[in-house]
Symmetry: C5
Amino acid sequence: MLLRTNIPLRYILKGIKTELLFVVIYAGLIALEDRYIHLIKIDIPLSVPMIMGTVLSLLLAFKSNQAYDRWWEARIVWGAVVNDSRSLVRQVLSFSETPYESEEVQSWQARITNRQIAWPYALGMSLRKKMDLEVLRPYLSARELKFITTHENVPNALLQLHAQDLRYGLQQGWLNSYQQVEIDQTLTKLTDSMGKCERIKSTVFPVTYSLYTHYCLFFFVMLLPFALLTVFGVMEVLIVLAISTAFFLIERMAIHLQDPFEDKPTDTPMTIISQTIERNLKQMIGDHEAVRHVTAPDTDFYVM
Amino acid sequence: MLLRTNIPLRYILKGIKTELLFVVIYAGLIALEDRYIHLIKIDIPLSVPMIMGTVLSLLLAFKSNQAYDRWWEARIVWGAVVNDSRSLVRQVLSFSETPYESEEVQSWQARITNRQIAWPYALGMSLRKKMDLEVLRPYLSARELKFITTHENVPNALLQLHAQDLRYGLQQGWLNSYQQVEIDQTLTKLTDSMGKCERIKSTVFPVTYSLYTHYCLFFFVMLLPFALLTVFGVMEVLIVLAISTAFFLIERMAIHLQDPFEDKPTDTPMTIISQTIERNLKQMIGDHEAVRHVTAPDTDFYVM
Amino acid sequence: MLLRTNIPLRYILKGIKTELLFVVIYAGLIALEDRYIHLIKIDIPLSVPMIMGTVLSLLLAFKSNQAYDRWWEARIVWGAVVNDSRSLVRQVLSFSETPYESEEVQSWQARITNRQIAWPYALGMSLRKKMDLEVLRPYLSARELKFITTHENVPNALLQLHAQDLRYGLQQGWLNSYQQVEIDQTLTKLTDSMGKCERIKSTVFPVTYSLYTHYCLFFFVMLLPFALLTVFGVMEVLIVLAISTAFFLIERMAIHLQDPFEDKPTDTPMTIISQTIERNLKQMIGDHEAVRHVTAPDTDFYVM
Amino acid sequence: MLLRTNIPLRYILKGIKTELLFVVIYAGLIALEDRYIHLIKIDIPLSVPMIMGTVLSLLLAFKSNQAYDRWWEARIVWGAVVNDSRSLVRQVLSFSETPYESEEVQSWQARITNRQIAWPYALGMSLRKKMDLEVLRPYLSARELKFITTHENVPNALLQLHAQDLRYGLQQGWLNSYQQVEIDQTLTKLTDSMGKCERIKSTVFPVTYSLYTHYCLFFFVMLLPFALLTVFGVMEVLIVLAISTAFFLIERMAIHLQDPFEDKPTDTPMTIISQTIERNLKQMIGDHEAVRHVTAPDTDFYVM
Amino acid sequence: MLLRTNIPLRYILKGIKTELLFVVIYAGLIALEDRYIHLIKIDIPLSVPMIMGTVLSLLLAFKSNQAYDRWWEARIVWGAVVNDSRSLVRQVLSFSETPYESEEVQSWQARITNRQIAWPYALGMSLRKKMDLEVLRPYLSARELKFITTHENVPNALLQLHAQDLRYGLQQGWLNSYQQVEIDQTLTKLTDSMGKCERIKSTVFPVTYSLYTHYCLFFFVMLLPFALLTVFGVMEVLIVLAISTAFFLIERMAIHLQDPFEDKPTDTPMTIISQTIERNLKQMIGDHEAVRHVTAPDTDFYVM
């Protein structure tokens, strides 16, 4: 079998049930009319819906590709978040060179690491417009929590706190000038990832395209029965249903993919990724105990 | 419902009303001629317009893809402007290390931040060829305003002022040499974003392609009635109208997308993005009061 | 002849044998029914499966392209692993400037080089979920082995050890500050490569697309015999088999390509690449003896 | 109207007039033969040229895409030249920190700026194989002119002079070590842009593809009249002309786009871009007088 | 005329002569059978091979695109080799700041430059599996030649020698620390280019795709005569030949492009590029005499 996860067929069809209902009723009415009433006598050659079908394929292929690109870019950005989180902590751990492993340095390293664990959680909640500071509380001090509540953009505020800690590390002599600048570049990368997510989130896929594709699809579906009636008779309803299901599903999937941060089952798995980051970073600072406390990923969402 | 914004159908059709009027009159005349006059007797098999339709699909798919790429690149560039603005201010705030938080340093930081708030507004107006220095006045000093009036390219002049302030920061010892070079790299990124916008703005999509697609589309539309006449009779007018609307809309949408800085309703939302930047940067320097004064985005434009 | 490797036809067909069996039985039953029973009398015009075929081509082209992109990205990432391994060792060898080629420095260089040889092996096993520390034992000290056993993510732990050795080199004066930062950038690149592999591994190709393509393909195959029956008679079974083999093979190949780290014959050749890295790095530290001991690549897997 | 520039239809058709003449004569002869001579009796079903048309669409879509990519990459590279020129001058102006704004430093800055103004002109002439040192004379000293005459690759020689001036600036203490390296990175970017232009210029689009597309197109055109004769009679000449014009135009446009540095009307507007750079850089060093002397862009070329 | 080089038609057809011979014989036999024997009576409607043709177009378009991408990437990589060679020498010449232009420094600069001239020759021979150290002898000292003979990967060994010379330059005070690191980044870029070439070389295009496309094409060709027999009679042989030539040529071209380092006439022109690099670098160190000795490019290969 070629599937990796058990997505019930029901779930897939749920999204297009209104459209399918409409198709069945519409095609059924036409079949009934043709059988018992004979008021209208339209007989369209199959090549007319075929031209429409070509245009439609063009539009859907275009839409699918752009939607997939958005979805895949979202995944790439979150992959970069994973990488840059690891790099940040590796740099903070290995750059700071004190003559003895002082407790002060270690608490400074732990502070930055915990804040970096909080960062992807904060970014995820910010993108889903569900900011809940309680989630971040275990990783931040009271002072830090107070600071970020005054900011609209919480992840950006956390990066600002990172930057302040880097300056503190430079002033204390735990970092040299090159190292501060180098770690700051990692902060810049995190800023870029954050901005990319916001861009994908806030840029609506050109609405006119979506709208037009939708109209064009309905027009195609409404033409279809007249072309199939002479060949199939009542069976036409089934064929129309099958073909239109095909097109509606492609459209629906593109719609799902094109908004990867909308808190839907087919979303980017931001919480799972954040938990992976948490486990990795905790191990990097030797906090093997804490790792076990990271709850297992919530399996409520289908992985898409 | 699968739309996110209410774009009235009227708005979409407005752009192609001349073309549709022409199609209706043309197809109508042919239908009338066929019914009452019978002077000409042309009957084209459907496969001839189908060949044309394939060529046309090729051209429109090509055009749509390139137009979408331009539009999406414009969005990426403005996303980078957001990111680099935040990074710039974060660097200016966290690098400058004075023994005490002197007032002089703070005013220097605020000066750079305000200038960076002005920058995206200036870039947007420059791209729309609607430079209005009054918009920038709240963020700049009199000396700065005087400096930029002597420059054709206002955003570039602002970056030059940034660079001078960095040198000043180095001379005063607020920045060290690495930090100056590091912030200068952020200025280089802003220069690149500015140049990319200008490139998209000034590079016309190959005119011959556009022209040819347009001619080809008209030829196709003019062939269509003769192919549909025998099958549909007078109904032909409706089918021709439907099919040609489809093609004209795709062409029109590509034309809209391909020029993302033309001050049209479907434009890149540069003003909204600039306001987001303003709110973010003001919060970064702790100016929470000012944030409230940023007016809400102008909803006069449809988001595309 | 245009093939480069002898993949037996048998291997290719093995993956789709269930599907082909189903097709033969199904098409055969319909042919028998048509010849001897005459219960059903369905005759579909060929243009109906042709519309389905267009939709299907759209879906398969989409799937093939995305699958190929995943596969090719996996290759690019592993190419980058090769490059960065060489750069890392070149930097470690040429940066460390001691007045005399002390033994201590050489052992430090050898330690890093050996660890870098272990790294791609560890990454490969980690991606295939077959971590076997025995494979890494020849390249690591006991202390290093103990360190990585406490980590879930072994390649990340190795990079952390690299970073600690760089700090040690800086403390000993074998590296200057710029050089440490420069080599750290190479570590960041390796971190990025690791993260990209994990992203490709853990991101399932949108299941709904796969599922839908599969259903659509079956529907197409089940329609086909009815369209071909009148033209070909019993020969129809062969034609249906040929056409459906074509489509099933394209689907199967896309499935193979889309998961490049699944320990299948058509996998990314991670072990071979790791061996190339081992040979290169050993020669760079002048260990020409050891090169001979690297076993020849295991030819058990077909190169895809 | 959807065009931005008035390209006369005549100009577009000029490039394919030989081909069109051939088509008219060929299709005309066949029409005459069919009407008056009746020697040959070939009647091809329309689906045969339709298969050819599909192959042809494939080839032309492929060719158009690659040609467009070359053309667009050329524009991107020249956009980068604009950006890096501005960054270079901004860095030279803002990095050099002398206690007093000495005349010596200012003349050094002006020397580099003028040389950078000369650089895009030199690159443009080099790519068009029309090197004219007189064009560069206003921006260079006699010594510099003498130096570049000994080099085949003039733009590369100019970058070498830039690099020498940077070293001079370092020796004089006008730049510190980081700043020299930072500006050198901008020189590296300019080197990359230069090399990319040379690559596009010197890499011929795979000739076999072009050749084959051309043959295939002719074969298609020669088949067409036989398929259209029975349906259209003498009208066939017009239809063949229309369809083949469509295909020939697409081919011709791809040929135009694929060589963006060939000194043709549809070229990359390198001279206009160079003049924009000149105006920008002159304003950056405060030379507002000189800006007026930059002649208006030569409107002899159509913008494509 | 639209061709830039005279590739004889003969050369293009040579690659597919076996296939064409097979097609002629096969189609001829069927035509003869149909005329004189009448044993078999198969008559396939044209729409069956048309479905196959669509699938085939899909496969060939996919293959052409990926092959072109490989070929174009190879060109991009070699373009980067040109750029980085120039940047390396520019940096070595302009960074080294000795109080007086000592002879020792000049010989060190010449040594690195000559080694960099040797590098692309070595890379080219390495990719073509034709390593000939005699070609490199003019540019290397005896000691260097001896060093590289102990390495499997010659270009990598040359980069290691570069890195050693950079350390020597640092030790002698000819370079400062930033400059060493900066030039080392150029070495990293060259390492990346080398690795990318090796990746393209060693990654076989998915064999199953190639194989399947080939089988599918043969199946299509074998179906074709039966579909064309009723329409064309004996003429069918010519039409089958024409159509199958079209498809075979596209396949063949894709095969040519997909392996850009195979020492074939349509190869990446690595020797010509290496000679361009040699001329450029020699002029950069003022060795105008030597430039004349670089032999003209070998015109034995067709430029593709």
